[in-house]
Symmetry: C2
Subunit: 742 residues, 2 copies
Amino acid sequence: MSNRPKITYTFTDEAPALATYSLLPIVKAFSASAGIDVETRDISLSGRILAAFADKLDADKRIEDDLAYLATLATSPEANIIKLPNISASVPQLKGAIAELQALGYSVPNFPEDPQSDEENEIRARYAKVLGSAVNPVLREGNSDRRAPAAVKAYARKHPHSMGKWSMASRSHADYMRGGDFFSSEQSITMDKAGEVRIEFVGKDGQVELKKKLALQEGEVLDSMFMSCNKLRAFFEQTLQDCKETGVMWSLHVKATMMKVSHPIVFGHAVSVYYKDVFDKYGELFKELGVNPNNGISSVYDKIKTLPASQQEEILHDIHEVYSHRPEMAMVDSVKGITNLHIPSDVIVDASMPAMIRNSGQMWGKDGKQKDTKAVMPESTYARIYQEMINFCKTNGAFDPTTMGTVPNVGLMAQKAEEYGSHDKTFEMTADGTMRVVAADGTVLMQHEVEAGDIWRACQTKDAPIRDWVKLAVTRARLSNTPAIFWLDPERAHDRELRKKVELYLQDHDLTGLDISIKGYNEAIRTSMERQMRGLDTISVTGNVLRDYLTDLFPIMELGTSAKMLSIVPLMAGGGMYETGAGGSAPKHVQQLVEENYLRWDSLGEFLALAVSLEETGIKTGNAKAKLLGKTLDEATGKLLDNNKSPSRKVGEIDNRGSHFYLALYWAQALAAQDEDAELKAHFAPVAKALTEREATIVAELNSVQGKPAEIGGYYRSNPELTSKVMRPSATFNAVIDGLVA
Amino acid sequence: MSNRPKITYTFTDEAPALATYSLLPIVKAFSASAGIDVETRDISLSGRILAAFADKLDADKRIEDDLAYLATLATSPEANIIKLPNISASVPQLKGAIAELQALGYSVPNFPEDPQSDEENEIRARYAKVLGSAVNPVLREGNSDRRAPAAVKAYARKHPHSMGKWSMASRSHADYMRGGDFFSSEQSITMDKAGEVRIEFVGKDGQVELKKKLALQEGEVLDSMFMSCNKLRAFFEQTLQDCKETGVMWSLHVKATMMKVSHPIVFGHAVSVYYKDVFDKYGELFKELGVNPNNGISSVYDKIKTLPASQQEEILHDIHEVYSHRPEMAMVDSVKGITNLHIPSDVIVDASMPAMIRNSGQMWGKDGKQKDTKAVMPESTYARIYQEMINFCKTNGAFDPTTMGTVPNVGLMAQKAEEYGSHDKTFEMTADGTMRVVAADGTVLMQHEVEAGDIWRACQTKDAPIRDWVKLAVTRARLSNTPAIFWLDPERAHDRELRKKVELYLQDHDLTGLDISIKGYNEAIRTSMERQMRGLDTISVTGNVLRDYLTDLFPIMELGTSAKMLSIVPLMAGGGMYETGAGGSAPKHVQQLVEENYLRWDSLGEFLALAVSLEETGIKTGNAKAKLLGKTLDEATGKLLDNNKSPSRKVGEIDNRGSHFYLALYWAQALAAQDEDAELKAHFAPVAKALTEREATIVAELNSVQGKPAEIGGYYRSNPELTSKVMRPSATFNAVIDGLVA
């Protein structure tokens, strides 16, 4: 490695990879002026396949295992990684990539769907490491720092998104269990030394069943809790009766994607309580057919298709009968008649609640009209924050994006902080008895009396990530000169354990002049909102679930979307990773480029990540030029937003490449205009001049290629020369940029 | 004076005075056992008249000026005064008392209605000092300490009053101005040395008009603020439109009795905005007739009586037309058709809001049904606490009197702490211009740009009472081992001045182990309610207005009434005054005694006050017996409540006298049962035995006299022998009590 500071830019897949061909030359050219190298590392699906089978390839076709390199880098202090979205490959995608590589002359083996030999098994095992979410678990060696970048916040202040008006007479509210849920049963311990514990179920007959063994580290926090099935069902029934009485619309909000085991069960109970008459009447039949309410009422529609038409009709009739005596239910799609209980992944609390709150506290009824709603969120642990925000909006009106402060988040995430119940430690009880956590010496550490149907779960949180999280909170408070609130609820067992650690680890830091406090959830969100209403910022320092919830909730109020947030993972070893593109890698964008030579991908996330990456480089290496590059890049991004130079989405107007030109133009102008660094000023003044003068020419060159097919020579591994040519169609622009590094 | 500790029991008027004839012998007999003297001081109306004209009376008819004595006593550390309610005399009452005294042979002069001579003027001047509220201003030389006595709280926990259920879908709320009100314009200064200031109005022409001169003390806080007439009227219109849209009922909540100048004007604007069509149409006519909207819509009904019937009908028709396009208004009396805007004193915020909150957040519509309501309280300073409580009840349901904690109050009251705008410093502007407060040297200390119709006011708060209030808060926190919250709003100018003093004066005290904090109103009430819901107590330490509001709000939730609260005025000089009987002196009770020999007066307030008085005596003089008397008296009161031995209100059952017997019985039993003091145990064991054995006899003797007229020889100055005979009709009971002191 050279001693020059280095930014590692990931080369990934599809639209972000295409955009990289245009953006990276600009980034490299500008960064060079501060003596910064920008290296690329290939973590594309095709790259990872080639790395996995390097031994099978011709020598000239072999590539380095860049993911392995990045994994090592992530645990070293000099890591400065810009992580673009990549493909989490399904089997069909994998097979498509293999076929393409083989056609390109790479001798990678076929994917053995049904391996028969040792060799095939070995191949299959190598491919297994490439499938699915193979990158994030390797790289996310840190906690989460998410915030609205200054440029984005400024843009929202000038061009506010719409916010539905709130009435003080609104009937909307969030309803949650007042006992019998995970919150009320939570227990938590901290291991005073490393050791193994057993999760056991003791039946009424005294039989002990080992459910799971866990090896815990010293200082690790282990929680256990359960949700009572009977109380959950009684709660659902009560909320339905209440809606029936008050005329308020009923809706369910869970997070079946994150709480992968517990929440589908919770969702299933909602379905079978709401449609109780149907499930009572057809209980046996549904069992035979394999109807699973955890998959939503759509499961009934799917499974009854095998029945005679008359029987199907009878069941459908009975389902429709249910609506006559149940309260109106919120619709996901009122045109298609898809309700809140259709499938478990349609209403995801962290997205659906902010949407409801932005929409005057209302959701959509079956008549397509928006109505006051009871948002049912059984688990009271987090539901209370939504009720607090609803009360706040009733009292103070909708938030005002033009004046409101921001609430960035520092979230405990590293090393799989499992606050939300890890999937392998969540159990649906099949009998009455006792669930307990037992130490190696037989000591019972925690236990709960449970009944059949109850959902019991445990969560692990390691000590080192907590210590790092506290440090990150202090750092953010210091750097942004912003008060920070640790959201730790005095009534929650887990949070009481964490509080002890937080108070201890805060002592490691100089807190002079900082405003750091610890508050329960209601007080924390209320304080943050009161300040926000007055234009003041407050850092939320939270566990993993609230990280997930709040990084949608506040951004959606402040910016209208969470996609524009800066997502930083300060790595525990000291490096940094800057994640971009909440929208995924966008296969449809590639198709449009190939057909029309138009790339609608918005590189805003990359601009923002790069600015922070440069700033961090500057801070860590004492490189003032790097800091200045970051600062001016942010100015350029702000100007780009202001002047509406993001991809227009219309062929013939500026696309991804045009937005990169404007970024370069504004960035150069900002560097030429500043007076902090004379060298950079002198360096970029002619660039700014050239780009300014040639704006019309360059834009014409960039836009004139559109409307015709483009040839890039591949989907999973496009040809670099062809792709570069397509992505850099303006000779005038290229000349200026390439001249910078020459 | 003797060196024995002494309790001063006030002899007052009407029912409380009659009850004293029965209760005092018991009190004296029990107190004697701890070496405590109980003296009575006559502050009855007749007594005050006689004292005022002592020089005109025969030597044998002269009495001491007990009010003057008490005024001196109140400023001395040994004061221990039990203050019963007395007559605040109107002129007719005064004349009645004079006539009665003259008939009894007291040569007091007639009241000169229209004094013609110097002598008559002098007489008139003496009577002036007897008229109206002549006692409280003399005696209230301290701040306010109000709390629910343990016995009363225990009773409410066992026998909870009804509480209306709250729905999460309730539309009720409190609405208030978001600018243009007193809160948003408040300015406040602290005098660094004593000096005179001038309140001036500067017209648009530069003319300066002196409105008022004030002599301020060193350290005195002076506030000034105004309410914009235009913004107030626009606010009313907006609330009406909002109710029209949402269908929520409209109601107005002000405190025209306390804010005697400002709130009637605010009320008047509500009337003339609601009935705008009528006031617009008949503006000139109403002016001629002297209609004043500040007196309510009833003013229209009153004043148009002089008009021809046809014109009256037209106006009434137009008034009824208003209801067709205005939202429904809350009724004070739906049977009589009396609305919220009828007269200004019908809906008093401190009583009406707790009633609404206890009643599921609803008020009564014109159809006699209860409905969700917009409670309109223009002045946002205090209105916000009601919205906070409403949101709290929506989220958590109605308070539960069987489990909820208590929120006692320490209120800044001494030396007329004028937070609510003193009447002589409130002005309704008649022209546009500047209101300003100017120091003697010409420095402008505060100023506001005002318009005609705006309401400007100033308030004074002296320093010594603030220092005493802080001390009282610390004392109460220490003695009751309860967290105390100073309600001082960071966004209020007055409170920021007070906060400086509070932080300074807290340093005078040992706060070790105490939990004393300062919070804004919303946070203060929220914290108190969160604790209360969990059964925890929190002292509210507030200014004068919140003292007034909270000592209704919390007691009504906790006890169903504020009448059962203990009201203590710890005098600044070190003594204590214990006020009883929020219900007044009750003339109708006297009438019933004379006609049926039944006194329905409930001496609960006296029992409670006496217990604290004894406890305080014990603490201040190190008299353990006195403390024990107080403690056992509280136990007795609790038992009396539990066993339902308060006056039954039915002739033939126990009345005031019977309840005194049971108090004596339970008190003696408690003293006989305790083991802290052997001497008292021995002393009261035979008393307990005698009273227990003779219960049936005594109750029979007490009740048998009822149903026939009773002769007490006077109303304002009844004959002591006759009255004592009437009030002590049980020879058996008297023998036991009198035997105690013998």
